[in-house]
């Protein structure tokens, strides 16, 4: 059985990935981690005719439960072939109003939870090989005043991915990092409340790139920070 673990499946890019993954039948079982059980069960219903799913209740702001959950998933499914770290959090603030709590929550969801998920899945994946994909952001590559916690956490995701590409390649584990530009989701609305979401990239378009990367056809793009951006013509 081919098994994929993912976070962020309840909305936006993650939801679109989950549905495309199911349609393409890349994996037999998709284990979804998250806290918004209503949204996660709703997406599972859409996926279930095509693949097996399971939902694992966890608030990624408290990532300590991750080792136990990964062990249980491995016990239930027998292997872990793919990990998709898609969940992300932001509370954009300038330096002087950024609280330590903001920093901690952003890093818990964006950096520490992916770190723990990678560490725990690699314990199994190193025996079989596999694919890991982390969603960073163009915000982690260029300075964005007012986005201190988010941008710096995404820079960490880019760096972590590059280090792990080298460290895990001995095991046949490929580590991908994608940095989407503006994409019409809840999170983007927080960062740019006045933007018209119909004028920017849609989650399904980012999901398509992600699903291509983790399909068996792709073998040459790991280790680089892959920017996903769409040229959008101004209206009129």
């Amino acid at each position: 059985m081919r098994v994929c673990i993912m976070t962020g499946a309840g909305s936006g890019i993650g939801r679109a990935v989950a549905i495309q993954l199911a349609e393409q039948k890349l994996y037999d079982h998709i284990a979804i981690l998250g806290r918004n059980l209503e949204a996660l069960n709703e997406v599972c219903k859409k996926m279930q005719p095509m693949v097996q799913t399971s939902v694992w209740d966890i608030d990624l702001n408290s990532p300590q439960k991750i080792p136990q959950i990964v062990e249980q998933i491995h016990e239930k499914c027998g292997s872990i072939d793919c990990l998709l770290n898609i969940a992300g959090y932001t509370d954009p603030q300038p330096l002087l109003t950024t609280s330590l709590e903001n920093m901690e929550m952003t890093y818990n969801v964006n950096v520490f939870a992916p770190f723990l998920l990678i560490r725990e899945t690699v314990k199994y994946m190193k025996k079989t090989g596999g694919k890991i994909l982390n969603v960073a952001s163009t915000a982690g590559m260029t300075p964005r005043p007012g986005w201190l916690s988010y941008s710096s956490s995404k820079a960490a995701v880019i760096s972590m991915s590059q280090t792990l590409t080298e460290e895990l390649s001995e095991y046949g584990i490929k580590v991908y990092c994608v940095s989407p530009g503006r994409c019409a989701t809840k999170l983007r609305q927080k960062l740019a409340p006045n933007e018209d979401p119909t004028t920017i990239m849609q989650p399904e378009e980012v999901a398509e790139v992600i699903c291509n990367l983790i399909s068996d056809r792709e073998n040459c793009l790991d280790g680089q920070n892959i920017v996903i951006r769409k040229q959008i013509k101004p209206k009129g």
């Binding site: 314990k123 190193k126 025996k127 080298e166 390649s169 001995e170």
Partner: protein, 226 residues
């Protein structure tokens, strides 16, 4: 089934380091873990005996957990000499066959271990061509050895446990010292030891410069070039 005995008793004198070399990071990973991870992926090996200083057992135990090593591990105390360490390790072996390896040779591929395991013969060693001239003598040359007749012994090796134990007991009785086990078995004419072709990448990390060379071997042979 077969037991892997890993010699890890070195104190790291030549590396001039407080931590013995087999626990130093090589390509980002404690040297000993390179071999153990590969051994752990071989189903025919159902037991690993690590011969080490007692004080390293608890940190090694933790490492086995962290690296999710699932083959059962036993520890044997290192002796004052290599010969004593091998003898100590053999006491913990519960199979009839043993793969003898040393932590300081981290670049043995899974396939190399399998070659030894799949050999019909019970006593087998890797031997590598000697690409240079070897002479006898310390101050002046007494004799030149013909390199066509020589091989450089490389671990890992496979032995029948009862034959190797017998060789060790004879050596103890005769108070004879050996630096290697295949020669012990053949000296006492207990069995033939087959030589199969070794590899240039299977170097022993001994001096600080070997760490630098080792990083290159890791990149080119173990990880694969990009």
């Amino acid at each position: 089934m077969i037991t892997a005995v890993i010699l890890s008793g070195g104190k790291g004198v030549r590396m001039k380091n407080v931590v013995p070399k087999q626990y130093l990071l090589l390509a980002g990973k404690p040297m000993i873990m390179h071999s153990i991870e590969r051994i752990d992926s071989i189903p025919q090996i159902n037991e690993i005996v690590i011969v080490c200083e007692k004080s390293f057992e608890s940190s090694l135990e933790l490492m086995m957990k962290q690296y999710n090593i699932t083959t059962p591990i036993r520890f044997a105390p290192a002796g004052a000499t290599r010969q004593e360490s091998v003898f100590s390790g053999l006491q913990k072996v519960s199979n009839d066959l043993v793969l003898l390896h040393e932590a300081a040779r981290p670049f043995v591929l899974k396939n190399d271990f399998l070659k030894l395991i799949n050999e019909k013969e019970k006593n087998v060693t890797f031997g590598y061509e000697i690409p240079f001239t070897v002479v006898k003598g310390k101050e002046i040359i007494l004799d030149t050895l013909s390199r066509d007749e020589l091989k450089n012994i490389q671990l890992p090796q496979k032995f029948e446990v009862k034959t190797l134990l017998k060789a060790h007991e004879m050596a103890q009785k005769n108070n004879e010292k050996f630096t290697e086990d295949a020669s012990m078995i053949t000296t006492y004419k207990l069995a033939d030891v087959k030589i199969i072709n070794g590899n240039s990448y299977n170097i022993k990390i001994t001096e600080p410069i070997d760490f630098l060379v080792g990083e290159i071997i890791y990149r080119e042979i173990i990880r694969g070039r990009k």
